[in-house]
């Protein structure tokens, strides 16, 4: 598979189809990989693929430093590929701006990432070239996909509050969660605006609640569940539970899953006249 990947990458660079490959390379330790940016055909041997390829490289689509390198081909797993769908729908990129090097994937991380246990995109749903044996994408029922939420949803109001307060208290306001997120692409985040100051920049419980709720909410109906925010959080806050909760409500209420079908209307940019309103008086 690595050979096929390198071969395709080399071909793309030689033919000038793209200027740069965003891929995975060897990392600081054998249990780590790191993003690499290959611009010369002779460097394709730096590309690798293994179960430590956790990063969602599409985040480099929003970064000026990597965009400067020209048109990219990006190595994406099935989950990462969903980002590209959302970015296209949100008019951030055009389909022809990226060459998608889809890789089939059986799961990443050690221990395996939560997302992989209920993965229904082992083979990306969108790609220009598929690397690796096609894996059949099995449908996974709604309940199973959101199973990890259950134990938190059934807590009492006070237990929920205490649990999240304890989690949010750990936040150091580094904003790694939003820096890494490929879909947090605002040039200036609401948290950086201070006229007025909507979200307290301080890492105290009030500022942390406001920040974490807002970050999650701004990804409602958009988050594609790559789990990158949770992976990078130095404070080990289970951010993914918040993202998942929102994804679950979006799917339950609007039958929408971010990044699945390029023809679906963005959940938060549209509405239906008969949307749920049973909580309205």
């Amino acid at each position: 598979m690595i050979e096929a990947l390198r071969k395709k990458a080399e071909e793309l660079l030689r033919s000038n189809t793209v200027n740069v490959i965003y891929g995975y390379g060897e990392g600081s330790t054998p249990e780590r990989t790191r993003p690499v940016f290959i611009t010369k055909p002779e460097d394709v041997s730096k590309l690798t693929w293994n179960k430590y390829c956790v990063y969602n490289l599409t985040t480099y689509l929003k970064r000026r430093e990597s965009r400067k390198l020209g048109k990219p081909a990006i190595v994406v797993k099935g989950c990462d590929a969903k980002t590209i769908v959302v970015l296209i729908k949100e008019s951030q990129i055009k389909r022809e701006d990226v060459y998608i090097l889809g890789v089939t994937c059986n799961g990443v991380g050690e221990p395996m990432a939560t997302k992989c246990k209920a993965c229904d995109v082992h083979t990306p749903r969108i790609y220009d070239e598929l690397i690796g044996e096609k894996i059949e994408n099995k449908e996974i029922p709604f309940e199973e996909r959101y199973a990890e939420l259950e134990q938190y949803e059934k807590l009492s109001e006070k237990e929920k509050w205490d649990f999240w307060q304890k989690q949010f208290a750990k936040c150091i306001k580094c904003y790694a969660c939003s820096s890494i997120c490929p879909l947090c692409f605002c040039d200036r985040c609401i948290v950086d605006k201070n006229q007025p100051q909507w979200i307290d920049p301080s890492a105290h419980p009030r500022g942390n609640l406001s920040w974490n709720v807002t970050r999650a909410y701004h990804l409602a109906g958009r988050c594609i569940n790559c789990e990158e925010c949770q992976r990078v959080c130095p404070a080990d806050i289970p951010l993914n539970l918040l993202n998942k909760k929102l994804a679950k409500e979006t799917e339950k209420n609007f039958k929408y899953r971010a990044g699945y079908n390029i023809d679906d209307e963005l959940a938060m940019a549209t509405y239906k006249e008969d949307d749920n309103q049973d909580f309205f008086k």
Binding site: Y152, E153, E157, K158, E159, K160, W161, D162, F163, W164, Q165, I190, W198, I199, D200, S202, H204, P205, R206, L209, S210, V213, T214, A216, Y217, A220, G221, L241, L242, K245, L246, E249, T250, N253, F254, A267, M268, T270, Y271, K272, E273, D275, N276, Q277, F279, F280, K281
Partner: protein, 156 residues
């Protein structure tokens, strides 16, 4: 008598200019009585109510919040309230998931002609929040900041 009966909740109501605000006005001109715990914030449309407004209201000491606008189909800007409804459909469960009682954030459609419904709704919200008591959780996390009692300095 007890602390609880003395507690007067602070309710912040975010209202759209065209329907609910006019409805509340009608209740006023009709000299209808309702509980005085509510502070009204008028906005052009429910579609313009950012969920952060709600968070901010809690930060500044609200015990309960009402969001109210035109009935579906009646939006002055055609679809603002439909978009708002989508947002609240996901935001409300998010707050609930974080341990905020959904009774503290209520939603209604009240038209310019429904002065009576306004009175009923406001009384309902005030009573519900009064029964819940002050929002102690949020009061506690306001420890640093403008509304904090000065002795509540947090060192770490």
């Amino acid at each position: 008598m007890s602390e609880k009966t003395k507690f007067e909740p602070r309710i912040v109501a975010f209202l759209c200019n065209w329907c609910t605000y006019a409805g509340a006005d009608l209740a006023g001109t009709g000299r209808k009585q309702y509980q005085a715990n509510v502070r009204v914030i008028k906005l052009p449309c429910t579609g313009g109510i950012d969920p952060l407004f709600l968070i901010k209201a809690f930060e500044r000491g609200a015990d309960g919040i009402l969001v109210s606008g035109c009935h579906p189909g009646d939006c002055h800007y055609n679809s603002g309230n439909y978009h708002a409804r989508r947002r609240w459909n996901v935001f409300r469960p998010l707050l609930e998931f974080c341990g905020i009682n959904p009774e503290r954030i209520q939603f209604s459609w009240i038209s310019a002609a429904e002065g009576g419904k306004w009175v009923e709704t406001i009384n309902g919200v005030v009573n519900a929040v009064r029964a819940l008591g002050p929002f102690e959780g949020y009061k506690k996390i306001n420890a640093i900041g403008p509304d904090a009692p000065s002795e509540s300095f947090v060192t770490n």
